[in-house]
């Protein structure tokens, strides 16, 4: 049941990403290119997703103490704004601006079957593995 539910929810997410334009690097990069071939469409993606989620979360947290198929809500509680968060996010933005794919756009884009997406996703997974290895070796004493 849990697997089936996650599969269906993943499908809704994937179709949403695909029709929104987030899976299309040309469109994503144009959103950020105000000085060039600007396409403001992604404001509507972010706005639609944000408002829907904000309302949806309120309804869910207001109605239930626990999720329907699991024991508890797992939501990050940290409020610490540190160099790791800011530096990591800045790096993410640089990579997004170079390639035009973000993780949530690239994974559904795999289903469109273009080789460029597979190249990007392989490199991104490589990046996560590199970061995780750094975390477990060099950075281990600093971050618990």
């Amino acid at each position: 049941m849990r697997i089936f539910s996650a599969l269906l929810i993943g499908m809704i997410f994937g179709v949403g990403i695909a029709i929104s334009g987030m899976a299309n690097p040309a469109k994503v990069l144009n959103f950020f290119d105000i000085a060039g071939t600007w396409d403001p469409s992604l404001i509507f993606v972010m706005g639609g997703a944000l408002v829907t989620t904000a309302i949806g979360y309120r309804l869910v947290f207001g109605a239930r103490a626990a999720p329907l198929l699991d024991k508890s809500f797992i939501v990050p509680t940290s409020k610490v704004i540190d160099a790791r968060l800011v530096g990591g996010s800045a790096l993410f933005g640089v990579g997004w601006g170079i390639a035009g794919f973000c993780p949530g756009g690239a994974i559904p884009a795999l289903g469109l079957g273009y080789s460029q997406t597979f190249i990007f996703v392989a490199a991104m997974i490589g990046g996560i593995v590199i970061a995780r290895t750094l975390q477990m070796t060099i950075l281990k004493p600093a971050a618990a």
């Binding site: 849990r2 697997i3 996650a6 599969l7 993943g10 499908m11 809704i12 997410f13 994937g14 179709v15 949403g16 695909a18 929104s20 299309n24 690097p25 040309a26 469109k27 144009n30 290119d33 469409s41 509507f44 993606v45 972010m46 639609g48 997703a49 944000l50 829907t52 989620t53 904000a54 309302i55 949806g56 979360y57 869910v60 999720p67 699991d70 990050p76 968060l85 800011v86 990591g88 800045a90 790096l91 933005g93 990579g95 997004w96 601006g97 973000c102 993780p103 949530g104 795999l110 289903g111 273009y114 460029q116 990007f120 490199a123 490589g126 990046g127 996560i128 593995v129 995780r132 975390q135």
Partner: protein
């Protein structure tokens, strides 16, 4: 390369993304952040990897089914293979240390008014604007 302004399709897609985020919280109690979901299926696997794998499979299969059913999804990559690899590596490292991406911080975290997510989203959006400007209008593409 010009792309067509698609406010209605983009809004509809955004609402579906928000619906998926809401349902994932309602049924599974989880944040619909692609970084976190993906990281859990990269070895060493997290203990709850099956639902993550199912979500990812759904997210990949659905656009394929949409096209098989006759739908059209415009797609173009206006950058080099080198840029895809470089950008992919940097995105992977960045989202790991930043603990999230557009979906986790930009949608789910912002919707909860999380100060970490609001900070992260402002930082990565600004970094992306600056990067695209530098790549396209200073370097002339990579």
């Amino acid at each position: 390369m010009e792309t067509e302004f698609t406010p209605l399709l983009s809004l509809g897609g955004g609402v579906l993304i928000g619906l998926a985020a809401t349902l994932l919280m309602a049924f599974h109690g989880r944040i619909a952040g692609m970084t976190g979901i993906l990281a859990g299926v990269i070895p060493p696997l997290s203990s709850d990897w099956p639902w993550r794998a199912a979500f990812l499979a759904g997210a990949i299969v659905a656009p394929a089914l949409y096209i098989v059913a006759g739908g059209e999804i415009p797609f173009a990559v206006p950058v080099s293979t080198f840029a895809l690899i470089l950008g992919g590596l940097i995105v992977g490292i960045g989202v790991f240390f930043g603990s999230g991406c557009t979906s986790g911080h930009g949608v789910c975290g912002m919707a909860r008014l999380s100060p970490r997510s609001i900070t992260a989203t402002i930082v990565f959006m600004l970094a992306t604007f600056v990067t695209v400007f530098v790549v396209r209008h200073v370097l002339g593409g990579i």
